[in-house]
């Protein structure tokens, strides 16, 4: 019976694809919580998103508490 395992080897033993994936997650999450002022939803809703500030309001309290400039 054969067994299939997902393994990947890099020079330092850390998969490059994992580092890239985590790097993208880091940047995206940081932008969402720390800096979005309607930019992400403007891709769908246009200029209205900058007035609605959906994500800004959702992350508002954490943004202040974590030390990001909010408004």
């Amino acid at each position: 019976m054969s067994e299939s395992r997902q393994i990947s080897v890099s020079k330092k033993g850390v998969p490059t694809i994992a580092i890239l994936a985590l790097g993208v997650i880091f940047a995206a999450g940081l932008f969402v919580v720390g800096f979005d002022q309607g930019h992400i939803f403007s891709l769908v809703y246009g200029e209205q998103a900058f007035d609605d500030l959906f994500i800004h309001e959702l992350t508002h309290d954490m943004r202040h508490a974590a030390g990001f400039p909010c408004h």
């Binding site: 393994i7 080897v9 890099s10 330092k12 850390v14 994992a18 997650i25 800096f35």
Partner: protein, 249 residues
């Protein structure tokens, strides 16, 4: 002759890193709800009074219905935003931990992760916080928010890359390597601290409110770093995403 190769299970590594970040982020959000929210409510209350005094808003039942609606949304978002931020910062922590684990001191991965978390807390959170501390609502001009964001992010990046650079540099010195890197980083970040512009906004609310808010903010963020280190270390020890395979040749 035995040949050792480190093999990382990619999916397991990602799950461990993201799960530890998410749990720590949820804890961070919960801590904030308990100790930061009262300061936010007070600050937003002052903001509302300023709006009434300036005539921008009227103290009507309609105003308070709308206010209650978005404050519920904002408070509800505290834990969700904590999880998103936790996954984000946890991802960075996971990368650095995986790359530096073998050179970190400590007899197990919890101790190694706590040491790394302490270094990262200091270099990419607390030192930047000393220069650009957290502020409650009512502090901060909307016109300067982009500038403040750039300054804060730049300081974090300079401090983080600076610490990494001095660590790499210290490897070139066989003796007193740690001392050289610590003194070098301290001198570097002090110069950057003095050279970077100040936050341009004036603080017009009471010192007690601002200082209380900042203290609660530091406690909240610190809770994240402690939990993410413990969770990552525990999960790493338990699930072992990296295993050394030895073979004879």
């Amino acid at each position: 002759m035995p040949l050792g190769v480190n093999i990382m299970k990619t999916s397991l590594f990602l799950v461990i890193v993201l799960l530890s970040g998410a749990i720590a982020g949820a804890v961070h959000g919960g801590v904030n709800l308990a100790i930061v929210e009262p300061y936010l409510d007070t600050a937003i209350g002052i903001e509302n009074q300023n709006l009434f005094a300036s005539g921008e808003e009227e103290d009507t039942p309609e105003f308070w219905i709308e206010y209650d609606g978005y404050r519920t949304w904002q408070k509800g978002g505290q834990v969700l935003a904590g999880v998103i931020l936790g996954i984000s910062i946890g991802a960075l922590f996971g990368i650095v931990f995986a790359l530096s684990r073998q050179s970190l001191p400590g007899s197990n991965n919890v101790k190694k992760a706590l040491i790394l978390a302490g270094i990262m807390w200091l270099t990419i959170y607390f030192i930047p916080f000393l220069k650009y501390p957290a502020n409650p609502p009512t502090v901060g001009d909307t016109e300067t928010v982009v500038l403040r964001g750039i300054l804060y992010l730049s300081f974090i990046a300079i401090s983080g890359f600076g610490a990494m650079g001095f660590y790499k540099l210290s490897k070139k010195f066989e003796r007193k390597a740690k001392l050289v890197s610590i003194i070098g980083y301290a001198a570097f970040i002090t110069a950057v601290f003095l050279a970077m512009p100040e936050n341009p906004d004036e603080i017009s609310v009471s010192t007690n409110l601002v200082e209380g808010f900042r203290t609660a903010s530091v406690l909240g963020v610190s809770s994240f770093w402690i939990v993410v280190a413990i969770m990552l270390g525990l999960l790493w020890d338990k699930l072992k995403p990296e295993q050394e395979i030895t073979s004879s040749r």
